[in-house]
C-alpha cells in the first residue's frame, strides 16, 4: 500500500468522518482516497475552494463532534496557518496532515523535504503548543494518523502528521488492525464551563447540538468562552493554559525508539532519514553508535536525549538545513552536529558513514 493511502485508511479506522481539502502535490492521494471511501462510510468529503477554507471547514465539522481532517503540503500549509492558530485558541480537536515537499514557495512539488518542522510549531502568530507526529514508514502512516486523532481529542489541540513525499509515496506492506484506540474528548461536565481547564488544563467538550450553548471565539476569552480582550490576566491565564496542557503532558505524548543506549555517537532522527540510519546500523553493527528516532517531535521530548548517558556527540540528519538541531542542542551539553540535506533525496548510507567518521 502507498503511504498516502495508508494515511487515509488510518484516519478512517480512527473514525474520521469529515475531510475538507484542496488538491496539492504530493498529498493529493489522501484526498482522493477519502473522496472514494468517506461517502461509503457515512462521512463527508468536500473539496473546498482553497486551503484556508479547507481547514475552516474541518474546524467547523470538528465542533459538531465529528472527527475531521485535512491533508496538504507546503503552500497549502502556509495558507492554513491563521486557522491553525484559531484551532489552537479554540481548542478544536482536528488533524492536519502535511506531506512535506521542497520549499520555500512552490519549490519542489514532487520532491521530499522536512522543511516545515518549525512552521508546524510556530507558524501561526502568538504563543501556543501543538502535537506533531513523524512517520517513517507506510505502516506508521496508518498508525500515527490514527493516533493523531486520539491525541487531538484527548488534548483538545490541532495535531499534525508531519510526513513527506518519500513516505507519502512509498509502497510497503501494512498490517491493518481490527480496531484502533479511539478515545474521545472528555465530555463537558454538568455545571463546568466550556473553557475551564481543570487539573490537567484540558476543558470538557460539548459539541454543537448538545445543548450547552457554547460560544467559540478566537478572541482572548474567559472560561465561559466570552471575549475578554483587554484584561492582561485573562490573556495570561488562557494562553499559559493552552501551552501548559500540551507541554506538561509531553511524557505521556512522547513516542520514540532508542537503540544502543550506551552509545557514544548518537543519531537523532525523525521521519525518513531514520531509514538511512537504520541501514547504516545494519551494515556495521557497532554498540558505540546509537539512534534516537522520534515519532513525536512536538512537544519535544527532551528527556529522551538522556537515554544516552555516554553520548559524546549527537548527529542529526534532516531533510532541511538543520531545523531541529537547535531544539536538541538547547537540551544537551554535547555538540549536536547537523547533517542537512535539501533537494529532495534521502541521505545515502555513505554520506552518513562519512559524517560518522568525521565526528565520532
Amino acid at each position: 500500500m502507498q503511504g498516502n493511502a495508508a494515511c487515509a485508511e488510518g484516519a478512517l479506522a480512527a473514525g474520521c468522518r469529515f475531510f475538507g481539502g484542496y488538491p496539492i502535490t504530493p498529498s493529493t492521494e489522501i484526498a482522493e482516497a477519502m473522496a472514494r471511501r468517506l461517502p461509503k462510510a457515512g462521512g463527508v468529503f468536500i473539496s473546498m475552494e482553497d486551503e484556508l477554507a479547507s481547514i475552516a471547514a474541518v474546524i467547523g465539522a470538528a465542533w459538531t463532534g465529528t472527527r475531521a481532517m485535512t491533508a496538504t503540503s507546503g503552500p497549502g500549509f502556509s495558507l492554513m496557518m491563521e486557522n491553525i492558530g484559531y484551532a489552537a485558541m479554540t481548542e478544536t480537536p482536528c488533524v492536519i496532515v502535511n506531506i512535506q515537499r521542497g520549499g520555500p514557495s512552490t519549490g519542489q512539488p514532487t520532491r521530499a523535504a522536512q522543511g516545515d518542522m518549525l512552521q508546524c510549531r510556530f507558524g501561526s502568530h502568538g504563543d501556543y503548543s501543538t502535537i506533531a507526529l513523524t512517520p517513517n514508514s507506510v505502516q506508521e502512516m496508518f498508525d500515527l494518523t490514527a493516533k493523531a486523532f486520539d491525541l487531538a481529542d484527548r488534548y483538545r489541540v490541532p495535531t499534525f502528521v508531519m510526513s513527506d513525499e518519500i513516505v507519502g509515496h512509498m509502497r510497503e506492506r501494512v498490517t491493518i488492525p481490527d480496531a484502533v484506540e479511539a478515545g474521545r474528548p472528555r465530555p463537558l461536565a454538568e455545571g463546568a464551563l466550556p473553557f475551564e481547564g481543570g487539573d490537567d488544563g484540558i476543558p470538557g467538550f460539548a459539541p454543537f447540538g448538545s445543548g450547552r450553548a457554547v460560544h467559540v471565539s478566537g478572541l482572548t476569552h474567559d472560561e465561559r468562552g466570552y471575549p475578554d480582550t483587554t484584561d492582561p490576566e485573562a490573556h495570561d491565564r488562557l494562553v499559559r493554559r493552552l501551552v501548559a496542557k500540551v507541554e506538561s503532558a509531553r511524557r505521556d505524548i512522547a513516542d520514540y525508539e532508542a537503540v544502543n543506549p550506551d552509545a557514544e555517537t548518537v543519531f537523532v532522527t525523525y521521519g525518513p532519514p531514520s531509514r538511512t540510519v537504520e541501514q547504516v546500523m545494519r551494515d556495521r553493527p557497532d554498540e558505540s553508535i546509537g539512534h534516537l528516532r522520534l515519532r513525536v517531535v512536538w512537544p519535544f521530548p527532551e528527556f529522551a536525549l538522556k537515554v544516552f548517558p555516554n553520548a559524546r556527540t549527537f548527529l542529526m540528519p534532516e531533510l532541511n538545513m538543520g531545523q531541529m538541531v537547535r531544539e536538541v542542542q538547547r537540551h544537551v551539553d554535547q555538540p549536536v552536529i547537523s547533517i542537512p540535506k535539501i533537494g529532495g533525496e534521502l541521505h545515502t548510507p555513505t554520506e552518513l558513514v562519512r559524517a560518522l567518521e568525521a565526528y565520532r
Partner: protein, 262 residues
C-alpha cells in the same frame, strides 16, 4: 426586545455604538428564527470578524466566531457534518466581500443549506472606518480621504450570479420586510443570502454629511427602490434615480442544494 429568550443577558453591555444598525438586523433575524419555531439547541450562529460578526456572541446558542472572511467555510463544515442543525451566518461587507469574497461565491455555488445575513454598512467599522468593497463611489472614509475611487460590489447580485437559492436585500429601515425576508431565507432549502444595508453613524455617516442616525436611516429609506419599480423604470426607458439601490426579493429558486436534511 424581540425573542428575549435568545439573548445572553450576561454579555451586556454590547460593543455596538449608539445608533448602530446591527442591533436591528439581529432583532429581525431572531424574530424570524423564533417564527420558524427553531429550538436554541438545534441552531448554530457562525460569523467572521467585524462589528457584524460580534452578533453570535450575544445569542444564547452554540456559536462560532471565526477568523476574518472565513465564516462561510466554517459554516459549511458545521452544516455538512450535522445537516440536522440550523446554521445562520452573520457577516459584514468587509468580511464577506473583501477578504471572504472567494468563500462567498463558492458557498453560493454549492448552495449549502444555510442563511447568510450580511450587515452591509459600507465601511470597515471595527477598525475605525476604512473604505471597503461596498463603499459607494465618491464616499469619504479614512482610507478614501478624497472620495472612493473604486466601483462598489453589488452583493445581492453577486449572490444571484453565484447560485444562491434565495436572495433579498433590505435595509435597517425596512424592519418588517427584512424580518420576512430572513424568514423566507430560513425556509428555503439551499443558501439564502440577505443583504441588510445598515447605518454606521460613527464611522460612515460622520464623514459623509450623515452625522445624525436619523439622517442615515432616511438616506437608506429614500435611496431604496423596489426591484419591481426598478425593472419597470428600465422597461420604460426611464432613468434610475441617482444613488438608488434595489430592495426586495431578487431570486427564489430551487437549484440543487447541499447539506439539506432529508
Amino acid at each position: 426586545m424581540i425573542a428575549p429568550d435568545w439573548f445572553r443577558d450576561d454579555r451586556l453591555p454590547h460593543i455596538y455604538c449608539t445608533g448602530c444598525g446591527n442591533g436591528t438586523v439581529i432583532n429581525c433575524t431572531l424574530a424570524a428564527v423564533e417564527e420558524m419555531g427553531w429550538k436554541r439547541d438545534e441552531t448554530v450562529f457562525v460569523s467572521g470578524i467585524g462589528c457584524s460578526s460580534r452578533a453570535p456572541g450575544y445569542i444564547l446558542t452554540d456559536s462560532l466566531h471565526t477568523t476574518h472572511g472565513r465564516a462561510l467555510a466554517f459554516a459549511t463544515g458545521v452544516k455538512m457534518a450535522r445537516p440536522d442543525l440550523h446554521v445562520v451566518v452573520f457577516t459584514g461587507d468587509g468580511d464577506l466581500a473583501a477578504i471572504g469574497g472567494n468563500h462567498f461565491i463558492h458557498a453560493c455555488r454549492r448552495n449549502v443549506d444555510m442563511t447568510v445575513i450580511c450587515m452591509n454598512n459600507h465601511i470597515y467599522g471595527m477598525t475605525g472606518g476604512q473604505g471597503s468593497p461596498t463603499t459607494p463611489a465618491g464616499a469619504i472614509s479614512t482610507t478614501t480621504p478624497y472620495g472612493m475611487s473604486e466601483p462598489a460590489f453589488d452583493l445581492a447580485e453577486l449572490a444571484v450570479a453565484a447560485g444562491a437559492n434565495y436572495v433579498a436585500r433590505w435595509t435597517s429601515y425596512h424592519v418588517k420586510e427584512l424580518t420576512k425576508a430572513v424568514a423566507a431565507g430560513l425556509q428555503t432549502p439551499g443558501l439564502a443570502f440577505i443583504e441588510a444595508r445598515t447605518q454606521c453613524p460613527t464611522n460612515y455617516g460622520r464623514h459623509n454629511k450623515l452625522r445624525r442616525v436619523s439622517d442615515m436611516i432616511e438616506h437608506l429609506r429614500s435611496h431604496a427602490i423596489l426591484v419591481q419599480k426598478h425593472d419597470r423604470l428600465v422597461a420604460e426607458g426611464k432613468p434610475i434615480p441617482e444613488g438608488a439601490f434595489t430592495v426586495g426579493e431578487l431570486v427564489r429558486r430551487n437549484r440543487p442544494a447541499m447539506g439539506v436534511q432529508r
